[in-house]
Protein backbone atom coordinates (compact mmCIF):
# COMPACT_ATOMS: atom_id res chain seq x y z
CA UNK A 1 0.00 0.00 0.00
CA UNK A 2 1.28 3.48 -0.84
CA UNK A 3 2.62 5.64 1.99
CA UNK A 4 0.17 8.46 1.34
CA UNK A 5 -2.80 6.12 1.17
CA UNK A 6 -1.76 4.56 4.46
CA UNK A 7 -1.62 7.95 6.18
CA UNK A 8 -5.00 8.90 4.75
CA UNK A 9 -6.51 5.61 5.88
CA UNK A 10 -5.13 6.10 9.40
CA UNK A 11 -6.24 9.72 9.63
CA UNK A 12 -9.75 9.15 8.23
CA UNK A 13 -10.32 6.22 10.63
CA UNK A 14 -9.27 8.35 13.57
CA UNK A 15 -11.47 11.22 12.40
CA UNK A 16 -14.49 8.91 12.28
CA UNK A 17 -13.78 7.53 15.75
CA UNK A 18 -13.08 10.99 17.13
CA UNK A 19 -16.56 12.14 16.17
CA UNK A 20 -17.92 10.01 19.00
CA UNK A 21 -15.30 11.20 21.44
CA UNK A 22 -16.73 13.96 23.59
CA UNK A 23 -15.19 15.73 26.55
CA UNK A 24 -17.93 17.62 28.34
CA UNK A 25 -17.14 21.21 29.20
CA UNK A 26 -18.30 20.50 32.75
CA UNK A 27 -15.57 17.82 33.13
CA UNK A 28 -12.90 20.23 31.92
CA UNK A 29 -14.12 22.92 34.32
CA UNK A 30 -14.23 20.43 37.20
CA UNK A 31 -10.62 19.45 36.53
CA UNK A 32 -9.48 23.04 36.94
CA UNK A 33 -10.92 22.96 40.46
CA UNK A 34 -8.81 19.93 41.37
CA UNK A 35 -5.92 20.89 43.60
CA UNK A 36 -2.44 19.68 42.72
CA UNK A 37 -2.20 16.22 44.21
CA UNK A 38 0.29 15.90 47.02
CA UNK A 39 3.00 13.23 46.98
CA UNK A 40 1.11 11.21 49.62
CA UNK A 41 -2.16 11.65 47.75
CA UNK A 42 -0.63 10.22 44.59
CA UNK A 43 0.59 7.05 46.34
CA UNK A 44 -1.24 3.75 46.65
CA UNK A 45 -2.39 2.96 50.26
CA UNK A 46 -0.26 -0.20 50.39
CA UNK A 47 2.87 1.85 49.66
CA UNK A 48 1.96 4.39 52.34
CA UNK A 49 1.42 1.51 54.78
CA UNK A 50 4.79 -0.06 53.84
CA UNK A 51 6.52 3.28 54.32
CA UNK A 52 4.82 3.79 57.68
CA UNK A 53 5.91 0.34 58.87
CA UNK A 54 9.44 1.08 57.65
CA UNK A 55 9.58 4.40 59.51
CA UNK A 56 8.19 2.80 62.68
CA UNK A 57 10.70 -0.06 62.47
CA UNK A 58 13.64 2.28 62.00
CA UNK A 59 12.33 4.79 64.54
CA UNK A 60 11.54 2.35 67.33
CA UNK A 61 14.57 0.18 66.51
CA UNK A 62 16.87 3.19 66.41
CA UNK A 63 15.52 4.50 69.70
CA UNK A 64 15.82 1.11 71.46
CA UNK A 65 19.34 0.51 70.16
CA UNK A 66 20.51 4.01 71.09
CA UNK A 67 19.35 3.55 74.66
CA UNK A 68 21.21 0.22 74.85
CA UNK A 69 24.40 1.89 73.54
CA UNK A 70 24.00 4.76 76.02
CA UNK A 71 22.75 2.97 79.14
CA UNK A 72 23.63 -0.72 79.13
CA UNK A 73 26.31 -1.33 76.55
CA UNK A 74 28.53 -3.35 78.90
CA UNK A 75 25.83 -5.88 79.78
CA UNK A 76 24.31 -6.13 76.31
CA UNK A 77 24.75 -9.13 74.01
CA UNK A 78 27.15 -7.65 71.45
CA UNK A 79 26.15 -10.11 68.71
CA UNK A 80 22.53 -9.04 69.00
CA UNK A 81 23.42 -5.36 69.37
CA UNK A 82 25.69 -5.18 66.30
CA UNK A 83 23.43 -7.39 64.17
CA UNK A 84 20.38 -5.30 65.01
CA UNK A 85 22.32 -2.07 64.44
CA UNK A 86 23.39 -3.20 60.96
CA UNK A 87 19.84 -4.33 60.16
CA UNK A 88 18.22 -1.06 61.31
CA UNK A 89 20.96 1.03 59.65
CA UNK A 90 20.56 -0.72 56.28
CA UNK A 91 16.75 -0.45 56.49
CA UNK A 92 17.14 3.29 57.12
CA UNK A 93 19.39 3.65 54.04
CA UNK A 94 16.92 1.66 51.90
CA UNK A 95 14.06 3.79 53.20
CA UNK A 96 15.96 6.96 52.34
CA UNK A 97 16.65 5.77 48.77
CA UNK A 98 12.98 4.79 48.36
CA UNK A 99 11.61 8.12 49.62
CA UNK A 100 14.15 10.05 47.51
CA UNK A 101 13.04 8.07 44.45
CA UNK A 102 9.34 8.79 45.17
CA UNK A 103 9.97 12.51 45.57
CA UNK A 104 11.99 12.72 42.35
CA UNK A 105 9.41 10.71 40.35
CA UNK A 106 6.68 13.00 41.68
CA UNK A 107 8.64 16.02 40.44
CA UNK A 108 9.39 14.74 36.91
CA UNK A 109 8.44 17.22 34.18
CA UNK A 110 6.09 15.60 31.65
CA UNK A 111 6.38 18.59 29.32
CA UNK A 112 9.99 17.69 28.46
CA UNK A 113 10.77 15.63 25.33
CA UNK A 114 9.89 11.92 25.56
CA UNK A 115 13.46 10.61 25.64
CA UNK A 116 14.49 12.98 28.45
CA UNK A 117 11.43 12.35 30.64
CA UNK A 118 11.41 8.59 30.12
CA UNK A 119 15.15 8.33 30.80
CA UNK A 120 14.76 10.17 34.12
CA UNK A 121 11.70 8.12 35.07
CA UNK A 122 13.29 4.80 34.13
CA UNK A 123 16.51 5.62 35.96
CA UNK A 124 14.57 6.57 39.06
CA UNK A 125 12.48 3.43 38.87
CA UNK A 126 15.73 1.53 38.53
CA UNK A 127 16.85 2.85 41.89
CA UNK A 128 14.41 0.25 43.23
CA UNK A 129 17.26 -2.13 42.40
CA UNK A 130 19.40 -0.24 44.90
CA UNK A 131 16.74 -0.71 47.59
CA UNK A 132 16.70 -4.46 46.86
CA UNK A 133 20.50 -4.66 46.89
CA UNK A 134 20.71 -2.88 50.24
CA UNK A 135 17.99 -5.05 51.75
CA UNK A 136 19.78 -8.22 50.58
CA UNK A 137 22.90 -7.03 52.42
CA UNK A 138 20.99 -7.61 55.66
CA UNK A 139 20.84 -11.36 55.08
CA UNK A 140 23.86 -12.41 57.22
CA UNK A 141 22.87 -10.43 60.31
CA UNK A 142 19.62 -12.41 60.54
CA UNK A 143 21.82 -15.45 61.20
CA UNK A 144 24.00 -13.86 63.90
CA UNK A 145 21.65 -11.88 66.15
CA UNK A 146 20.98 -14.92 68.39
CA UNK A 147 24.67 -15.67 68.96
CA UNK A 148 26.01 -14.94 72.45
CA UNK A 149 29.29 -14.72 74.29
CA UNK A 150 28.88 -18.04 76.09
CA UNK A 151 28.89 -19.76 72.69
CA UNK A 152 32.46 -18.53 72.25
CA UNK A 153 33.59 -20.10 75.47
CA UNK A 154 31.39 -23.20 75.76
CA UNK A 155 30.83 -24.47 72.24
CA UNK A 156 33.00 -27.08 70.59
CA UNK A 157 34.32 -26.77 67.09
CA UNK A 158 31.76 -29.34 65.95
CA UNK A 159 28.88 -27.23 67.33
CA UNK A 160 30.15 -24.19 65.47
CA UNK A 161 30.16 -25.86 62.05
CA UNK A 162 26.45 -25.41 61.29
CA UNK A 163 25.94 -21.73 62.36
CA UNK A 164 29.22 -20.62 60.79
CA UNK A 165 28.41 -22.42 57.53
CA UNK A 166 24.92 -20.85 57.40
CA UNK A 167 26.33 -17.38 58.11
CA UNK A 168 29.10 -17.84 55.54
CA UNK A 169 26.57 -18.93 52.91
CA UNK A 170 24.26 -16.01 53.69
CA UNK A 171 27.20 -13.58 53.59
CA UNK A 172 28.35 -14.92 50.24
CA UNK A 173 24.80 -14.78 48.83
CA UNK A 174 24.18 -11.25 50.09
CA UNK A 175 27.48 -9.88 48.73
CA UNK A 176 27.01 -11.71 45.42
CA UNK A 177 23.47 -10.33 45.04
CA UNK A 178 24.60 -6.85 46.08
CA UNK A 179 27.31 -6.89 43.41
CA UNK A 180 25.22 -8.49 40.68
CA UNK A 181 21.73 -6.99 40.91
CA UNK A 182 22.31 -4.33 38.30
CA UNK A 183 21.01 -3.13 34.95
CA UNK A 184 23.75 -4.94 32.99
CA UNK A 185 22.49 -8.31 34.23
CA UNK A 186 18.84 -7.67 33.33
CA UNK A 187 18.82 -10.44 30.72
CA UNK A 188 20.30 -13.13 32.98
CA UNK A 189 17.94 -15.98 33.84
CA UNK A 190 18.44 -15.66 37.63
CA UNK A 191 17.70 -11.92 37.41
CA UNK A 192 14.44 -12.46 35.58
CA UNK A 193 13.49 -15.23 38.00
CA UNK A 194 14.21 -12.98 41.00
CA UNK A 195 12.20 -10.08 39.58
CA UNK A 196 9.40 -12.19 38.20
CA UNK A 197 5.88 -11.25 39.29
CA UNK A 198 3.33 -8.51 38.86
CA UNK A 199 4.83 -6.26 41.56
CA UNK A 200 8.08 -6.11 39.61
CA UNK A 201 6.42 -5.46 36.23
CA UNK A 202 6.94 -1.65 36.30
CA UNK A 203 10.63 -2.19 37.13
CA UNK A 204 11.13 -4.68 34.30
CA UNK A 205 9.23 -2.36 31.96
CA UNK A 206 11.57 0.47 33.02
CA UNK A 207 14.55 -1.70 32.11
CA UNK A 208 13.08 -2.26 28.65
CA UNK A 209 12.34 1.43 28.25
CA UNK A 210 15.85 2.36 29.27
CA UNK A 211 17.16 0.02 26.56
CA UNK A 212 15.00 1.85 24.01
CA UNK A 213 16.17 5.25 25.29
CA UNK A 214 19.81 4.16 25.01
CA UNK A 215 19.23 2.88 21.49
CA UNK A 216 17.76 6.24 20.46
CA UNK A 217 20.56 8.20 22.13
CA UNK A 218 23.19 6.00 20.51
CA UNK A 219 21.62 6.61 17.10
CA UNK A 220 21.64 10.36 17.88
CA UNK A 221 25.42 10.32 18.27
CA UNK A 222 25.90 8.32 15.05
CA UNK A 223 23.75 10.69 12.95
Amino acid sequence: MHELELKQLWQSTNEKLEENFVIHKKNTEDLTQVKVQSLLGSMKPIKIFALLVGFLWVGIGGYALSSIYLNSFAEANKFFLFSASIQVGLTAVALYVYVYQLIRIYGVDVTDPIIKTQEILSNLKMSTLWVTRILFLQLPVWTTFWWNETMLTDWTLFQWILPVTVTALFTYASIWLFMNIKYENRNEKWFQLLFNGIEWAPLMKSLELLEQVEEYKEQNTIN
Binding site: M1, W10, T28, L31, T32, Q37, T111, I114, Q118, A201
Partner: protein, 168 residues
Protein backbone atom coordinates in the same frame (compact mmCIF):
# COMPACT_ATOMS: atom_id res chain seq x y z
CA UNK B 1 0.08 33.62 33.90
CA UNK B 2 -2.97 34.31 36.07
CA UNK B 3 -5.16 31.44 37.25
CA UNK B 4 -8.06 32.70 35.15
CA UNK B 5 -5.85 32.83 32.01
CA UNK B 6 -4.55 29.33 32.77
CA UNK B 7 -8.11 28.07 33.04
CA UNK B 8 -9.08 29.61 29.71
CA UNK B 9 -5.96 28.27 27.99
CA UNK B 10 -6.60 24.80 29.41
CA UNK B 11 -10.22 24.74 28.27
CA UNK B 12 -9.23 26.01 24.82
CA UNK B 13 -6.47 23.40 24.46
CA UNK B 14 -8.80 20.56 25.44
CA UNK B 15 -11.59 21.79 23.19
CA UNK B 16 -9.39 22.33 20.13
CA UNK B 17 -6.92 19.47 20.51
CA UNK B 18 -8.84 16.69 22.23
CA UNK B 19 -8.18 14.60 19.11
CA UNK B 20 -4.50 14.35 20.10
CA UNK B 21 -5.42 12.87 23.48
CA UNK B 22 -7.78 10.44 21.80
CA UNK B 23 -5.27 9.28 19.21
CA UNK B 24 -2.45 8.79 21.70
CA UNK B 25 -4.74 6.97 24.14
CA UNK B 26 -6.05 4.74 21.35
CA UNK B 27 -2.53 3.77 20.31
CA UNK B 28 -1.31 2.98 23.82
CA UNK B 29 -4.39 1.74 25.57
CA UNK B 30 -6.57 -0.83 23.84
CA UNK B 31 -9.02 -1.32 26.68
CA UNK B 32 -11.95 1.14 26.62
CA UNK B 33 -12.22 1.56 30.38
CA UNK B 34 -8.47 1.97 30.88
CA UNK B 35 -8.44 4.45 28.00
CA UNK B 36 -10.90 6.68 29.84
CA UNK B 37 -8.60 6.60 32.88
CA UNK B 38 -5.61 7.40 30.68
CA UNK B 39 -7.34 10.38 29.05
CA UNK B 40 -8.38 11.63 32.51
CA UNK B 41 -4.75 11.30 33.69
CA UNK B 42 -3.53 13.17 30.59
CA UNK B 43 -5.97 16.00 31.29
CA UNK B 44 -4.88 16.22 34.93
CA UNK B 45 -1.22 16.38 33.89
CA UNK B 46 -2.00 19.03 31.25
CA UNK B 47 -3.83 21.14 33.84
CA UNK B 48 -1.05 20.73 36.39
CA UNK B 49 1.61 21.66 33.82
CA UNK B 50 -0.25 24.45 32.05
CA UNK B 51 1.78 27.12 33.87
CA UNK B 52 4.92 25.72 32.18
CA UNK B 53 3.57 26.22 28.69
CA UNK B 54 5.36 28.85 26.64
CA UNK B 55 4.75 29.79 23.04
CA UNK B 56 8.27 28.78 22.01
CA UNK B 57 6.59 25.54 20.88
CA UNK B 58 3.37 24.92 18.99
CA UNK B 59 0.54 23.85 21.26
CA UNK B 60 0.34 20.52 19.44
CA UNK B 61 4.07 19.85 20.09
CA UNK B 62 3.64 20.59 23.79
CA UNK B 63 0.46 18.52 23.99
CA UNK B 64 2.01 15.53 22.23
CA UNK B 65 4.90 15.62 24.70
CA UNK B 66 2.62 15.57 27.73
CA UNK B 67 0.16 13.01 26.38
CA UNK B 68 2.87 10.65 25.09
CA UNK B 69 4.86 10.89 28.32
CA UNK B 70 1.74 10.13 30.35
CA UNK B 71 0.72 7.30 28.01
CA UNK B 72 4.16 5.64 28.11
CA UNK B 73 4.27 5.91 31.92
CA UNK B 74 0.72 4.56 32.13
CA UNK B 75 1.66 1.73 29.78
CA UNK B 76 4.61 0.91 32.01
CA UNK B 77 2.20 0.33 34.89
CA UNK B 78 -0.22 -1.81 32.89
CA UNK B 79 2.22 -3.76 30.72
CA UNK B 80 0.68 -7.09 31.72
CA UNK B 81 -2.67 -6.03 30.34
CA UNK B 82 -1.00 -4.71 27.22
CA UNK B 83 0.67 -8.07 26.60
CA UNK B 84 -2.67 -9.85 26.92
CA UNK B 85 -4.11 -7.43 24.40
CA UNK B 86 -1.38 -8.17 21.88
CA UNK B 87 -2.14 -11.89 22.12
CA UNK B 88 -5.85 -11.25 21.68
CA UNK B 89 -5.16 -8.87 18.86
CA UNK B 90 -3.21 -11.57 17.00
CA UNK B 91 -6.19 -13.90 17.07
CA UNK B 92 -8.63 -11.11 16.25
CA UNK B 93 -6.57 -9.96 13.30
CA UNK B 94 -6.35 -13.46 11.83
CA UNK B 95 -10.09 -13.92 12.14
CA UNK B 96 -10.97 -10.52 10.74
CA UNK B 97 -8.61 -10.30 7.82
CA UNK B 98 -10.37 -13.05 5.88
CA UNK B 99 -13.75 -11.42 5.31
CA UNK B 100 -13.01 -7.70 4.99
CA UNK B 101 -12.48 -5.23 2.19
CA UNK B 102 -8.92 -4.51 1.08
CA UNK B 103 -8.85 -1.18 2.94
CA UNK B 104 -10.15 -2.67 6.15
CA UNK B 105 -7.62 -5.47 5.94
CA UNK B 106 -4.84 -2.92 5.58
CA UNK B 107 -6.12 -1.01 8.57
CA UNK B 108 -6.19 -4.16 10.71
CA UNK B 109 -2.64 -5.01 9.68
CA UNK B 110 -1.49 -1.45 10.38
CA UNK B 111 -3.17 -1.35 13.80
CA UNK B 112 -1.73 -4.69 14.77
CA UNK B 113 1.70 -3.59 13.60
CA UNK B 114 1.45 -0.43 15.74
CA UNK B 115 0.28 -2.39 18.79
CA UNK B 116 3.41 -4.55 18.56
CA UNK B 117 5.86 -1.66 18.35
CA UNK B 118 8.01 -0.68 21.32
CA UNK B 119 6.78 2.37 23.23
CA UNK B 120 9.05 5.02 21.72
CA UNK B 121 8.84 3.54 18.20
CA UNK B 122 5.07 3.64 18.62
CA UNK B 123 5.21 7.36 19.43
CA UNK B 124 7.34 7.94 16.34
CA UNK B 125 4.99 5.96 14.08
CA UNK B 126 1.97 7.78 15.49
CA UNK B 127 3.52 11.17 14.73
CA UNK B 128 4.61 10.01 11.28
CA UNK B 129 1.07 8.83 10.43
CA UNK B 130 -0.25 12.17 11.64
CA UNK B 131 1.96 13.79 9.01
CA UNK B 132 4.10 15.72 11.47
CA UNK B 133 7.31 17.18 10.06
CA UNK B 134 10.60 15.57 11.02
CA UNK B 135 11.52 18.77 12.87
CA UNK B 136 8.37 18.64 15.01
CA UNK B 137 8.81 14.91 15.65
CA UNK B 138 12.40 15.61 16.74
CA UNK B 139 11.17 18.29 19.17
CA UNK B 140 8.54 15.98 20.64
CA UNK B 141 10.73 12.90 20.99
CA UNK B 142 13.93 14.76 21.84
CA UNK B 143 16.22 13.34 19.16
CA UNK B 144 17.99 14.80 16.12
CA UNK B 145 16.10 15.36 12.84
CA UNK B 146 18.37 12.92 11.01
CA UNK B 147 17.73 10.30 13.69
CA UNK B 148 13.99 10.75 13.12
CA UNK B 149 14.55 10.02 9.42
CA UNK B 150 16.63 6.91 10.13
CA UNK B 151 14.18 5.52 12.67
CA UNK B 152 11.10 6.17 10.55
CA UNK B 153 12.84 4.56 7.57
CA UNK B 154 13.47 1.40 9.61
CA UNK B 155 9.92 1.20 10.92
CA UNK B 156 8.51 1.74 7.44
CA UNK B 157 10.74 -1.09 6.20
CA UNK B 158 9.27 -3.41 8.85
CA UNK B 159 5.77 -2.34 7.86
CA UNK B 160 6.47 -3.01 4.19
CA UNK B 161 7.65 -6.51 5.08
CA UNK B 162 4.44 -7.03 7.05
CA UNK B 163 2.31 -6.01 4.09
CA UNK B 164 4.25 -8.16 1.64
CA UNK B 165 3.91 -11.15 4.01
CA UNK B 166 0.18 -10.53 4.03
CA UNK B 167 0.01 -10.41 0.23
CA UNK B 168 2.04 -13.57 -0.21
Amino acid sequence: MKKQDQRQLFERIIEQHKGILFKVARAYCPDDEDRQDLIQEMMIQIWQSIHKYNDQYKISTWLYRVSLNVAISFYRKSSTRAKKFTELNDQKAEALVNDKSEKEKHLIILEQFISELKEIDKALMLLYLEDKSHTEIAEIIGISVSNVGTKIGRIKGQLRTRFSQFKS
